[in-house]
Symmetry: C2
Subunit: 206 residues, 2 copies
DNA sequence: CCATAAACTACCCAAATTGGGGGGTACTGT
DNA sequence: ACAGTACCCCCCAATTTGGGTAGTTTATGG
């Protein structure tokens, strides 16, 4: 099947280089090629891409916002971010916005091709550092100051449950739940729910 | 630098095949080779691996639990899961436990080598489907019934903040916060915080 | 230009929740 | 035998929550 590809990148040279490169493949067809999201979105239903190569630092609507808009209108489209940014916040914002892949601009030419192939096969191509960032975001703190009971209760606090509710689900009295929470607060050096949840997330305790 | 590799896999044939294969590389050295986590953990400080290849379905301690224990004792070790499981829960449990990579057993032999190389370079090798699973776990619902204001407030509810606290941080009155929350509850068909957060997570609204 | 929706403000009230105080048991390793 | 840790329970005052009701302003799209 022919892949319909749209490129959104404000550097004209890069854009054209990508277009030439991708059109070398018989099964790839660059159907659109824009310097900003606004233009690309205008032609979205005509272009009907299944793959979008997206820069992040664009004039006007950013690549992140652009990703959200395209995903909303064309949920089946697979968007691959190609950017110089490899800091955590940008990466996660892009993935939350709906990006399927995330390459940094230092990737070699072959990587672009293989990334598209990977997306078609149902994968999620990422540069090494990005993949590590993403995987690390799941990892819990291995040296938590909390006991397993406390961790369990803190998790439920973070789910918005009341003490009574927690007590009922883990079959202890409400008062015992409160006792544990008091100890959690002391250990985390906080004195309310919100701060406890904040620290729990910061320190990856739950 | 020489890579010290430990293999934990209950199928002896696979274990020995891996050992032979990896030892072909001058820069790889399989320093330990076990059929269960208990044995491996016993010899952990002697083996001092920087890379562990770990099965999940093991007799005794599971690969997930084993990963936690090894990570606790040897935080610098990079653990690559090699398993037949590719369902979401298992994958995320493994990553939360501290796994750096996740390959499915249908991967070809070269993939094992390249995965180790990737880990050394600071990457996080994953099979295509796994990578897609992981990336998808970040994606928000593109068709949320909530307004942006409501989404903003719901996020803060999920952070454990009180109405007063939310009101102060987004510079509106407490009463207005309550107004929005009432609308959120109607739209999500719930009538308390905990259920709202639950639905928000299920439907990926925040 | 009008209709509609979103965002905002305000007040009432009963019930539930929260955080801080206290006291107590059981098991561990030294 | 003793410190340390985890676990369990009760009381109380202050705050929070959820539900009801009634209205204004602002912005956007047909």
């Amino acid at each position: 099947m022919q892949q319909r590809i749209v490129i959104i990148e404000d550097n004209q040279q890069i854009r054209e280089a990508f277009t030439l490169l991708l059109n070398l493949r018989d099964d790839f067809s660059v159907v659109g090629n824009y310097g900003n999201c606004e233009e690309a979105i205008k032609n979205l239903s005509d272009d009907a891409p299944n793959i979008v190569l997206m820069d992040i630092d664009l004039p006007g609507i950013s690549g992140i916002e652009g990703t959200k808009i395209i995903k909303k209108n064309l949920p089946a489209a697979n968007i691959i971010i190609i950017t110089v940014f490899e800091n955590g916040k940008t990466v996660f914002d892009a993935l939350c916005a709906g990006a399927t892949g995330y390459l940094t601009k230092n990737s070699d030419r072959d990587r672009l091709m293989s990334a598209i192939d990977e997306v078609i096969k149902g994968g999620a191509p990422m540069s090494s550092k990005i993949a590590r960032l993403v995987v690390q975001s799941f990892q819990k703190n291995t040296n938590s100051p909390l006991t397993s009971r406390e961790t369990e209760i803190l998790s439920q606090i973070a789910e918005g449950k009341s003490y009574t509710n927690i007590a009922d689900t883990i079959f202890i009295s409400k008062e015992t739940v409160k006792y544990h929470i008091k100890n959690i607060y002391i250990k985390l050096q906080v004195n309310n729910k919100a701060d406890a949840i904040k620290r729990a997330n910061e320190d990856r305790l739950i």
